[in-house]
C-alpha cells in the first residue's frame, strides 16, 4: 500500500465515521467505569445512611417524671415498683379500673425500681418524703415518643393500646414525659429489656479480647517477620513457612473459630465465652496480617542501612534491633493497627467459642464470661423489638466509630512517618 493511499485512507469519510464509532465505544466504556464507582459509592451511602437513620434515635431515651412518695413500709419490703405505680396512678387519675391499671403498669420500665432503690439506698433520709424522680419509660413508650409507633394505626395492630396512649397524653400534658440522652446505652451491659440494654459490657469485652490479641500477635508477628526477612536462609523450609503464612491470611475466619473450639476449649479446657480464648483465636487470625505488613515494612528499609551497620562491625542482630527495626516501626505499627481493627470487627470465630452468650454483667477480667461489640450487634439484630433494631444500629455506629478512629490513626502515622528512600 502506498503512502498516498494510506494518507487518503486516514482522511477518508469512512475512517472518520469509524473513528466516531470508536469514540462512542470509548465513551461507553468510560461510562461503565464511572457507573461502577458510582454504584460502589451509592452502596456505601445507602449502607451508612440506613444505619444512621435507623439508629440515631437510640442515643435518646424517654423518661417519665413521677412524684413518688417513698413509703417506709414499702421501702422495708423493697417494693419500689409499688411506689412508682402509686405515683403513676396518682398522676393519671382518670384511669381507675384494674384492667386498665395493668396497662398503666406496663408504661414503666422493669428496671425503673432499681433506679429508685439505688437513689434511696444512697440517701436513706429520703424515706418518708415525697420526691420528684425521672425514671426510664418502657421501650414501647420510648418508641411512641420517638414517633416509631403511630396512633393512627388501628388498636389491634398497634403495640400500645388506647389506654396507654391516653395515659401518655395525660403525662405529656403535665410535662412529665421527656426525652434525653441515653446514658444507659453506654454504661449498661446486655438486657432483655431494650431500655435497660447497653453496650458497655460488650465494649469492655472487646477491649479485653483485643488486649490479649495484641499481646500475643504483635511480638510473635514482628519476631516472625524479622526472622523471615532478615535471618532466614532461603530454602524449602522457609518457602513453606512463607506459602503457609500467605494461605493462612486467606483462610475463612470461621475455620479459626473451629480451631479455637476444638483446641482451646476441647483440648486445653479453657473457659467458654472468655476474652482470653477470643483473644487467642483472634491472635492466630491476625498473625499473618501482622507478619505480612511487618515484612513489607522491613523490606522497604534500604539494604544500604544494613550494609553500613554491618560495615562498622555490628552483629546482624544489632543491625536489626538498632537500625532496621526502628526505621520499619511506623510501617509495622500501621499494619498492627489495621490488623487490630480487623480483629475488632470480627464476629464469626467468636460465635464458635461461646462469646455469643447472653451476659448481663460487665466482664472484670480475662477469664470472665464476656461478649464483644460485633457479637452484641449480631445478637441484638436477631431481637424482634424495634427498640433493639435502633440499638443495633447505634452499636454499629459506635463500632464504626472505633474503626474509623483506629484507621485514622493508621493513616496519620503513615503520613507522619512516611519516608521515601
Amino acid at each position: 500500500m502506498s503512502v498516498a493511499a494510506s494518507k487518503s485512507r486516514y482522511q477518508s469519510e469512512e475512517f472518520a465515521a469509524r473513528l466516531r464509532r470508536r469514540y462512542a465505544a470509548e465513551q461507553r466504556f468510560k461510562l461503565a467505569g464511572m457507573l461502577a464507582v458510582t454504584l460502589a459509592s451509592i452502596m456505601l451511602v445507602v449502607l451508612l445512611g440506613s444505619i444512621v437513620s435507623k439508629g440515631y434515635t437510640a442515643f435518646l431515651q424517654t423518661k417519665m417524671r413521677l412524684e413518688v412518695t417513698i413509703d417506709p413500709a414499702l421501702a422495708q419490703e423493697r417494693n419500689y415498683m409499688a411506689m412508682l405505680r402509686q405515683a403513676l396512678y396518682a398522676q393519671v387519675p382518670e384511669i381507675t379500673d384494674r384492667a386498665s391499671r395493668r396497662s398503666l403498669n406496663e408504661l414503666l420500665s422493669s428496671g425503673a425500681p432499681y433506679e429508685l432503690e439505688a437513689m434511696v439506698s444512697k440517701n436513706p433520709s429520703l424515706i418518708g418524703t415525697k420526691q420528684t424522680v425521672w425514671v426510664r419509660a418502657d421501650d414501647e413508650v420510648d418508641q411512641f415518643a420517638k414517633g416509631a409507633i403511630s396512633r393512627d394505626v388501628p388498636e389491634s395492630e398497634r403495640r400500645l393500646n388506647d389506654i396507654k396512649i391516653k395515659a401518655i397524653d395525660t403525662l405529656t400534658a403535665q410535662g412529665a414525659i421527656s426525652t434525653g440522652f441515653n446514658t444507659t446505652l453506654f454504661t449498661a451491659g446486655d438486657s432483655r429489656e431494650p431500655e435497660q440494654a447497653g453496650i458497655w459490657g460488650a465494649i469492655v469485652g472487646s477491649f479485653l479480647t483485643l488486649v490479649v490479641t495484641m499481646l500475643l500477635s504483635v511480638p510473635i508477628g514482628v519476631a516472625a517477620a524479622v526472622y523471615l526477612e532478615e535471618f532466614a536462609p532461603k530454602n524449602r523450609w522457609t518457602d513453606l513457612i512463607e506459602v503457609n503464612i500467605n494461605n493462612l491470611a486467606a483462610v475463612p475466619s470461621i475455620i479459626f473459630g473451629l480451631l479455637g473450639l476444638a483446641v482451646f476449649l476441647g483440648f486445653f479446657g479453657l473457659p467458654r465465652s472468655a476474652p482470653v480464648v477470643g483473644g487467642l483465636v483472634m491472635a492466630l487470625m491476625t498473625l499473618p496480617v501482622i507478619i505480612i505488613a511487618s515484612r513489607v515494612a522491613l523490606k522497604s528499609v534500604p539494604p544500604s542501612i544494613r550494609e553500613a551497620a554491618l560495615g562498622i562491625g555490628a552483629s546482624p542482630l544489632q543491625t536489626v534491633t538498632h537500625h532496621v527495626l526502628p526505621l520499619a516501626l511506623p510501617g509495622i505499627l500501621t499494619g498492627t493497627i489495621i490488623g487490630m481493627s480487623r480483629a475488632l470487627g470480627e464476629t464469626a470465630p467468636l460465635l464458635m467459642i461461646g462469646m455469643v452468650a447472653f451476659i448481663v454483667d460487665i466482664p472484670g477480667g480475662f477469664t470472665d464470661s464476656a461478649t464483644v461489640l460485633p457479637v452484641q450487634i449480631f445478637m441484638w439484630a436477631d431481637s424482634p423489638e424495634r427498640a433493639f433494631t435502633e440499638r443495633t444500629s447505634a452499636a454499629i455506629m459506635v463500632l464504626l466509630g472505633f474503626l474509623i478512629l483506629m484507621n485514622g490513626l493508621a493513616v496519620f502515622l503513615r503520613k507522619k512517618f512516611e519516608r521515601r528512600w
Binding site: 519476631a223 513457612i241 470487627g345 439484630a381
Partner: protein, 460 residues
C-alpha cells in the same frame, strides 16, 4: 494471688540479673571495657535470660499439668463406687468437684464424699500454687547465680544471647505453621469421628440435610439426614450472585481508577472503597437482613414474584458489595503491574484508551485477574456473618435466587452456637463441613497465589 506475686518476682529477678551481669562484667576488667569479649549489657542480658527463662518454662509446664495432676490425686482418694463409672459420669464428677472447689453450687445435693473431695482439691491447688511460688523463685535465683558465676572477660555473652534470640525468632515464625497444623488436625480429628457415624459418601453426595432430626442415636446414618449437597448448592448460588455483582463492578472500578480517573478524583474514590472494605461483616449482615432483604422482597412483590424473606438474592447482593473493594484492589494491583510500555505500544498504533484496555491491558493482566476472582470466590465461600444473618436455615436444593437457601458456613455457625454435646453427630458434622470448607478455600487460595506470583515474576 500467688501467680501475680510470682510474675512480679520473676520480673524483678530478671531486672536484677541484668544489672548484676552488667556491673560484674564491667568490674571483672576493672572498667576497661575493651578487654571484654562482649559489651557489659550483653552480659546483663545473658544473666537475665538465665534468671527468667528456666523459671518461665517451669511456670508454663506447671500450669499446664497442675490441674490434671491434682484432679487425678483427688479422684484417687474417692471411693470406687464414684470413680468406677463410665466416661460421661466421670466427666460430670470432675465438673462437680471443680464447681464446688470454686464455690459454685452444683444445683443439687452432693455426696459428702464429693464435697470432701472438692475441699481436698482446693487444698491441693492452694499447696500447688504456693509450692510453685517457692520453686519458681528458687529456679530463677539458681539460674541467676549460675549465670553470674560464668561471667568473665572471655565469656562470649553476645554470641550466646544472640543464639537465644535467634531460637526465639525461629519459634515465633513456626507459630504460623503450628496454626495450620492445628487447624488440619482439629478438623481431621473431629471430622473422622463424624465420618465413623455418617459415611463420607452420604455426606458429600446426599441430597437431604436436616441435622436436627438426628439427635436420637438410632436415627443416625439410616436416616441419611447429613447429605450436604443442598448446602454446597446454596453456597454456590450465593457465591455466584455475589460474583455477578462484585466482579463487573470491582473490575470496572479498578480500570476506571487506574486508567481514567485523574489524581484528584482518585483521592476521593480510594477512601470510599477502603471504607467499604473496612466495614465489619456483621454490619453487612445487618444491612442484608434489615434493609436489602425487605427491599428485594418488596421489588419482587411489586413485580408479582414470590420472594422469600431470606432470599439468596439479598444475601448474595450484599456479599457482592462487600467483595467489590476486594476485587478492585486486587485487580488494581494486577492492572498496574502491566508495564506502561505495552500501553504506549498500543497508543502509538493509534488505539483509543478503551481499545488499549480491552485488547492489550486486560489480556495481559488476565492471569492476575483470574487469580483475583478465585481469591474473591474463596472469600465469598468462607464468609459467614452475612449468610448467618440474611440467608435461611432450611436446606433447599434450588437454583432460584428468590428462594431461601442455606450455606456451609451458616450451618457450621448454627450447629455450634448454643448448647452442644461434643459427641453428637450434629455437632461433629460442623467439623465435617469445616473440613470441606477448608480444603476448598485452601485449594483456591493456593492456586490463586501461585498464579499471582508467576504473573508478578513475568513483569518484574
Amino acid at each position: 494471688m500467688q501467680l501475680t506475686v510470682l510474675v512480679l518476682i520473676l520480673a524483678l529477678l530478671t531486672v536484677i540479673g541484668f544489672q548484676m551481669g552488667r556491673s560484674r562484667a564491667a568490674g571483672s576488667v576493672g572498667g576497661r571495657i575493651v578487654e571484654l569479649h562482649s559489651v557489659p549489657s550483653y552480659h546483663g542480658f545473658y544473666v537475665a535470660l538465665w534468671a527468667g527463662l528456666p523459671a518461665l518454662l517451669l511456670f508454663v509446664l506447671w500450669n499446664a499439668s497442675e490441674g490434671w495432676l491434682v484432679m487425678q490425686m483427688t479422684l484417687a482418694g474417692l471411693p470406687d463406687r464414684l470413680t468406677q463409672v463410665n466416661e460421661q459420669a466421670l466427666n460430670l464428677l470432675r465438673a462437680d468437684i471443680l464447681n464446688l472447689a470454686h464455690g459454685i453450687s452444683t444445683g443439687r445435693d452432693s455426696d459428702p464424699a464429693v464435697i470432701a473431695a472438692a475441699e481436698q482439691y482446693a487444698r491441693l491447688r492452694a499447696i500447688g500454687s504456693w509450692s510453685l511460688l517457692v520453686i519458681g523463685t528458687c529456679v530463677a535465683m539458681g539460674g541467676l547465680l549460675y549465670a553470674r558465676r560464668q561471667i568473665s572477660p572471655d565469656l562470649r555473652a553476645r554470641n550466646r544471647v544472640e543464639r537465644a534470640v535467634n531460637i526465639a525468632l525461629v519459634v515465633c515464625s513456626l507459630v504460623a505453621i503450628l496454626t495450620t497444623v492445628g487447624i488440619v488436625l482439629s478438623l481431621l480429628f473431629e471430622a473422622v469421628r463424624f465420618f465413623t457415624v455418617v459415611s463420607p459418601i452420604d455426606f458429600l453426595f446426599g441430597l437431604h440435610w436436616s441435622p436436627q432430626t438426628a439427635i436420637r442415636a438410632d436415627q443416625v446414618g439410616s436416616s441419611g439426614s447429613f447429605g450436604a449437597v443442598p448446602l454446597f448448592a446454596g453456597t454456590m448460588l450465593i457465591t455466584v450472585i455475589a460474583m455477578l455483582v462484585a466482579v463487573p463492578v470491582g473490575l470496572m472500578a479498578a480500570i476506571f481508577m487506574s486508567e481514567y480517573a485523574n489524581p484528584n478524583l482518585r483521592t476521593w474514590l480510594k477512601p470510599i472503597l477502603e471504607i467499604l472494605a473496612g466495614i465489619p461483616t456483621v454490619v453487612y449482615g445487618f444491612f442484608a437482613a434489615l434493609t436489602m432483604a425487605p427491599f428485594v422482597r418488596g421489588v419482587g412483590q411489586s413485580l408479582g414474584l414470590g420472594v422469600s424473606s431470606e432470599s439468596a438474592l439479598a444475601a448474595g447482593i450484599v456479599m457482592g458489595v462487600m467483595i467489590i473493594p476486594f476485587v478492585s484492589s486486587l485487580s488494581d494491583d494486577v492492572i498496574n503491574a502491566v508495564p506502561q510500555s505495552l500501553r504506549d505500544g498500543s497508543y502509538g498504533l493509534g488505539a483509543t484508551k478503551s481499545e488499549t484496555v480491552r485488547l492489550v491491558v486486560l489480556p495481559a493482566a488476565l492471569p492476575g485477574i483470574v487469580a483475583a476472582i478465585m481469591l474473591a470466590v474463596s472469600r465469598a465461600i468462607g464468609e459467614t456473618m452475612i449468610v448467618v444473618m440474611a440467608a435461611g436455615l432450611t436446606a433447599n436444593l434450588t437454583a432460584n435466587p428468590l428462594d431461601a437457601v442455606t450455606t456451609v458456613t451458616t450451618q457450621i455457625a448454627t450447629l455450634l452456637v448454643g448448647d452442644q454435646e461434643f459427641d453428637s453427630p450434629k455437632t461433629l458434622s460442623a467439623f465435617g463441613l469445616g473440613l470441606v470448607l477448608f480444603v476448598v478455600t485452601l485449594t483456591l487460595n493456593m492456586v490463586a497465589l501461585r498464579v499471582v506470583q508467576k504473573y508478578r515474576e513475568k513483569y518484574d
